[in-house]
């Protein structure tokens, strides 16, 4: 059964780029094919769907080559993310705790406190979202592209400082880092959103801790708003939870009760201990502040963390674009392939040994000869006789057809051509030049030698034709026949083209 496909990680994207860059620079395609075929043999047939196949391939490459930097780089990014989370927690906690506890001589102005701990992070979040939306527009993307890639490039520069392997990869992969720009961008977003979430968690934790441990007083003062206006603002802010958590919102009266002036008179009255009701009044703001931080800071940032992680995964998955990885897939899992289960034997039938002296046609001019013509050549006896007379000054004494379906007829023709004839009279064997000199021809010539005697000249004439007329022999055919004839080691056997070479 196939193994369940693991999810694609950032490390996979980096390693994929590194390995593809290396493969691109590999000179021998055969080497890559061989390597990937071996890897493919180790992968189950069930795992051969994308992107599982490429992931399995990467795993195998990692096993074979520990140099791939993906896991270390991802580990470094994770460590950086962890450090940012700790930093965010400390900063968020420190800011809120310090604000609420360092100076308790006056109430905490809830307008300022809310603006810094809720308004500012929420505003930054909105800006971030707007930026993401605008990036989808081509004109904005062109304008902001260099800026948005600055941070990923800074991160890559830092990693290059930290890891020599990464530096090597940047040199080797060249522009490959550009191909993973989106993944890098989302990696940076993931880190920053985690920081922001941690900041929010730290701030909330500090608020809760300060409330229970130091009981800070929340009030408000402003020359820009009166009670009614502030009530409208508070109502708008608390609208999402007002119906389910009325205790986390304030009435106009309550707001009016928590107003203090720069003169600090009312606060002085409370400080003087004007009763329990007054104490509770100054604590009325904190549930609203707490809910604001949760709803406007924590929840959006938590959603952003989830969203950026998802986007990072999506970008990572897109790096495994099936069309882009088509060459790899074609090597690893071809839809159809021919495989041979046997290797060719390169030993040729014709051994190129025993170079024999060529003595067959010396001093034969004016003699009689005997012709054995392979059947089916389409040349008449008269044509053969005229040609031999003209070319070699030979007179044809006997003429027989050989190579017919019955091999016994060949022996009879050989006997007829040679028995009782002068051993100096050559035998001219006319064969089709286009036929390869198979064992059949070799057997024939060996048999003829036995019957004709050791010293009778035998000349193999290679016949070629075109449109019924004798034609010059193809050089390759001639060479093949010569090789075969020479390999027989017969000094009185030679081969010539029927039509003289031009």
């Amino acid at each position: 059964m196939g193994t369940r496909m693991r999810r694609i990680r950032f490390a996979d994207v980096i390693d994929l780029e590194v390995q593809l860059a290396r493969d691109e620079s590999e000179a021998s395609q055969a080497k890559l094919r061989l390597r990937d075929r071996e890897i493919a043999n180790r992968i189950n047939a069930e795992d051969r769907q994308e992107p599982g196949l490429s992931l399995r391939w990467l795993d195998e490459m990692r096993k074979a080559d520990g140099e791939l930097p993906g896991q270390r780089v991802e580990g470094a990014c994770r460590a950086l993310g962890g450090a940012l989370v700790v930093l965010g927690l400390l900063l968020g906690f420190g800011l809120v705790w310090g604000w609420l506890t360092l100076d308790q001589s006056q109430p905490v102005n809830v307008i300022h406190f809310w603006s810094v701990t809720v308004g500012l992070p929420a505003g930054l979040f909105v800006l971030w979202v707007v930026g993401l939306v605008l990036r989808q527009l081509p004109w904005f993307s062109r304008w902001a592209g260099p800026m948005s890639s600055a941070i990923p490039e800074l991160l890559q520069w830092m990693l290059a400082k930290r890891f020599s392997q990464w530096r090597q990869w940047l040199a080797a992969a060249g522009g490959a880092s550009k191909r993973t720009r989106t993944a890098w961008l989302w990696m940076v977003h993931t880190l920053t959103q985690r920081f922001a979430l941690a900041f929010g968690i730290g701030a909330v934790a500090a608020l809760v801790a300060a409330f229970y441990l130091t009981d800070p007083a929340f009030g408000w003062r402003s020359r820009l708003m009166d009670t009614q206006q502030l009530h409208r603002v508070v109502s708008a802010i608390t609208w999402p939870w007002a119906s389910v958590m009325p205790s986390a919102t304030l009435t106009e009266v309550q707001i009016e009760q928590t107003q203090y002036s720069s003169m600090g008179e009312r606060f002085a009255d409370v400080q003087a201990g004007r009763g329990q009701a007054g104490h509770a009044t100054w604590a009325m703001w904190w549930p609203m502040v707490l809910m604001s931080m949760v709803v406007y800071v924590l929840l959006p940032r938590a959603a952003a963390v989830v969203g950026t992680s998802w986007a990072l995964k999506r970008a990572a998955a897109r790096a495994f674009d099936p069309l882009r990885l088509a060459p790899l897939r074609q090597r690893l899992a071809p839809a159809a392939e021919f495989r041979t289960s046997a290797k060719y034997d390169h030993k040729h039938i014709i051994a190129q040994t025993q170079q024999a002296p060529q003595a067959a046609l010396q001093n034969i001019a004016g003699q009689r000869c005997h012709v054995l013509q392979w059947t089916g050549l389409g040349i008449t006896r008269q044509q053969v006789a005229a040609h031999l007379q003209q070319r070699f000054a030979l007179q044809v004494d006997t003429h027989a057809e050989v190579g017919q379906l019955d091999p016994d007829a060949d022996a009879q023709a050989m006997h007829a051509a040679t028995q009782g004839k002068d051993e100096a009279e050559p035998v001219m064997v006319i064969v089709p030049a286009w036929e390869p000199p198979t064992s059949e021809y070799r057997d024939f010539l060996a048999g003829l030698r036995k019957i004709a005697g050791e010293r009778r000249p035998i000349e193999v004439l290679l016949y070629e034709q075109h449109a019924g007329e004798p034609e010059q022999v193809n050089a390759e055919d001639q060479r093949t026949w010569q090789q075969m004839v020479r390999s027989m080691g017969d000094a009185y056997l030679s081969v010539l083209p029927f039509v003289e070479e031009a």
Partner: protein
Amino acid sequence: MQTVPTFVVVGYVNRGKSSVISTLAADDSVEISSTPGTTQHNAVFELRAQGETLIRFIDTPGFERPRDVYHWLKAHETDPGSRRQVVEAFVKEHRGIGMFKQECELLEPILQGAAILYVVDGSKPPMTSASAEMEILQWTGQPRMALINPTRQPQDETTEQQWRAQLDQFFHLIRTFNAHAADYPRRLALLRSLREVDQQAAAALDRAIEALQESRAQQRDAAAAIIADTLTQMLQLTKEKKLAADADVDAHRQPLKEQYLAALRDAESRCRDRILDVYGHHELTVEQAVAGEDLLTDDLFSKSTWTQLGLSRNQLISAGVAAGAAAGGMVDLSVGGASFLAGSLIGGILGGAGVWYGSNQLAQTKILGQPMAGKLLRIGPVSDPQFPWIILDRAVLFHRRIANRAHAARGLLHLDATDLENVSRNMGRGTRSEFNHCFKDLRKSRATEKNQRELRELIAAQLADE
């Protein structure tokens, strides 16, 4: 147990049996030689898809002594009904020994149930050995098909007719299949015709054809990705050289340019190697042609390449004007039309002029200041708007030639000017505009994965249209 349909490729020695296998298997690593007897033992080729063997071809050594074999069979024949048994007796008696070793090797799988693909050379007239072979194969009683594979120019017009007249008496089906020139559709057509020979193998052959079609699409996608990657790489390529503050820049300019051009040529060459590999042409060598003789193998920067490939001057300028006018139109839009389309007009003029002057220079050389004194001489990326079109044309034409090249054909690649169909000039206006956008974005370092994906898809569509 379901058996794998098997076809034994037989014939006289050196009649192109291995060539047929090589082309059917689309693999040029199959040994082909003009020397008779290159194939000494049966070689089994299995078409596999998803780990399953669909069909099997057996390349055989070929008949060496067909007349003697037939003579033996005739001598041992008792009645016409027992001919197959006589062939079996022949194999039993001569298997692995003596002069009929090769005949036994090729007859064995046939007697085990394989269908026969008998290959003859259609360029030469039939001889008696062929008659003997046909008789022997008929005696086995197995389903059989004859392939007329002309290895050379036919001796005369009647040669193929002579063969057909003889083959008709012995074979269920006769097809002409030039293994050295058969393209992909002919290869599929041959596989389809095998269904008629062996009806029992029809289902397996259908699956094999489907798998081969899928494989073809896979190869095309792989080639598209390779071409897109190469184009991106070539468009973004830069070369730099650090120089001392007082160094003579002009003395370094030319060597750096040479390095730059060499790197571009190298990128194209690697692209071609990868395409060859994708299509199973492992042994094929693409050699540099004499300038102007062969557009495909001519130098990338030769005059003939640049005049015959890529877009025409008019097409280039109109693309530049359109892009400039579109950019100017944004200005018009932003001022609510108060510019009376002056933005579009000026943008169009500037765009056209940019193309006119930009097409005279491949890439700009820049001298940059270095933070720690000295100078940096940089060449690239390519600014000539024609360059990506040239690369695209050459890549697509190369692909076209390779994808349709029979694997039995060995030797150099040639693309005559008469073959040439300019890809980019004949492209639809919309497609050309999409390519232009991709090229424009890819030239800049801000190119995204999206741009590359678009380019891959556009190129894949071009290859699919072929």
